[in-house]
Assembly symmetry: C2
Homo-oligomer: 331 residues x 2
């Protein structure tokens, strides 16, 4: 109670100088043990916490990391965030989490906010619709390092941490062909994203390479309900698919709803294979076979990259994480 806990106040009460208090609290070797003890005791008593803003203003180094994602309620981002937060906490950083809700305008506002808060670094997973990277470049060149992850730009002149998307597509292809499937409906998200293009390329090219007898038709589903509708429509045709490939959890949820609506059995009526973080696949019967994309691993890697930037000052880098197949009974 009473006056708030500041160095000045502590100094006033103890009748010593502000700098002595500051140094005592930092365990500076110059300060006498006795003084340190007194200062620390009073600081404790007064519940002293340094004013982060004043510290920043002085040191020009904020301990906040900006994180911009389209949507956090996504198991992939969630595990990414958890991992990143853990690593960040260890190093004394706080996460400023911002969601763009897949709106470029909001994304830009978030970027401004990061700049305004002079964050130490910004981690970004792009919105699907973002095409213009000008703002990112401007901020990047203004001194705040930007690390793109998952949904990264094509441009190689930046720092990226991402999954081996092409390999993931290939792994899916090999699984599908290995199970003797013939007619694949492959659902992808926003075609603007490199992540989409790479997964699609990996899948289609590998299948073509392995065998000429498997037919793949690729479609775009922008969200869960579109995926559901597309599946239902496809299953009503004569030439219906024997397998559905889902490039994300969002699409997978739509597909599950569609399958339930039609009362289909996996894998007899329709086989399913997805790229997922592993939570949704466990909810069906049989469980969905998926290629695991670990947000946790990516998050750790991203923080490592940030550390490297700090230490070595790189401005261009590409880190790639591998994935593995987890078998359920859906294919």
């Amino acid at each position: 109670m009473g006056s708030k806990a500041t160095l000045k106040n502590i100094a006033g009460i103890l009748e010593i100088s502000i700098s002595t208090v500051s140094r005592a609290l930092k365990d500076h070797p110059d300060i006498a043990q006795e003084t340190k003890r007194k200062v620390r005791e009073l600081a404790e008593l007064m519940d002293y916490e340094p004013n982060a803003f004043a510290v920043y203003l002085r040191t020009n180094e904020s301990k906040v990391i900006g994180l911009i994602v389209p949507e956090i309620s996504n198991y992939f981002y969630h595990s990414f965030v958890s991992a990143l937060e853990n690593e960040a906490r260890k190093k004394g950083y706080t996460l400023l989490i911002l969601q763009s809700g897949n709106d470029s305008a909001v994304e830009e506002a978030n970027l401004r906010l990061c700049k305004l808060n002079r964050v130490a670094c910004i981690f970004v997973a792009l919105c699907s619709e973002t095409r213009d990277l000008a703002t990112f470049n401007r901020i990047g060149s203004s001194g705040i390092p930007i690390v793109f992850f998952d949904k990264v730009p094509e441009d190689n002149n930046c720092i990226k941490v991402c999954l081996a998307d092409r390999d993931i597509g290939r792994l899916a292809a090999r699984t599908i062909v290995g199970k003797g499937k013939k007619n694949v409906l492959a659902m992808f998200g926003n075609p603007n994203l490199s992540i989409t293009r790479k997964r699609k390329q990996g899948l289609t090219e590998e299948i073509k390479k392995l065998t000429p007898f498997v037919n793949v038709s690729t479609v775009t589903a922008n969200n869960s309900s579109e995926a559901k509708a597309i599946l239902i429509e496809a299953m009503e045709k004569k030439e219906k698919p024997d397998t559905v490939f889902c490039m994300s959890d969002e699409i997978l949820t739509g597909v599950i709803m569609g399958i339930n609506k039609l009362g289909l059995k996996m894998p007899q009526d329709i086989a399913v294979i997805a790229i997922s973080n592993g939570f949704i696949p466990k909810l069906t019967n049989p469980e969905i076979t998926y290629i695991e994309t670990s947000g946790a691993v990516l998050g750790k890697k991203a923080m490592q990259t940030f550390t490297e930037i700090l230490e070595k000052g790189i401005s261009k880098k590409l880190d790639v994480i591998n994935s593995k197949l987890v078998e359920g009974g859906s294919i």
Copy 2:
């Protein structure tokens, strides 16, 4: 490029005083149009952004709101966060999102962090294991308002925004009795939380009130896999339940996995009713009947409460949100 954009710099280039620049940028009526124009142009050109930390240091008012939740990857919290963020953004606030991972120690560290960052307000959903509210009280009395939501303390001497948990329990009870069920396995989360106690009370008392012929056995499941195990074990007994009640999405996912594992059909083999935000219930066949708890509504309410605190300076308040039944085909 070159020197960074500060008021001082702009003033230097234009050869006017810092305060004139500051006022021009704020569109202060005292300043000449011509001057304003010049200042604004240069500021634009230099990509000027005020230093948020300096502003805070001066005004003693940070535009950051702290948000502490056990886990954000929870559809309930997610929709809460989204709503809160939207409202906050409108008022120029940023969200500092912190997760406690159901660990009281981390929760306390997060609290400290909020204080360190001198946030304008802290929104908290308690960890299950948190028993000691001393730190909260200390911070609350240090001037930062704390608004508890969802997982709130029993104590009435604080600000709480929560669901009508007892009514939710009663609604579930009426639904179960209405469907003619006789033997209910009711699964609840951490018994320390008032949210758990109230839902349990509402359910059991209402059933007892309605009819003496329905048997309810309540159990505690601390997480998804415990819920799964409990269900499987219960279904192997002679006196097996005809209905499962799940007090949360986490428990519900475990129950779904258990049902799938045993190959049971809803509602014939087992009826299911849950309290949920509505995402998971849509993934099964038939869809799960649930009582909807809207995080979005709660989030909006929470922000309103904060506004009231700012304007009227209340320190004690209870807001309650109602819920409704959404029928799937699981009961």
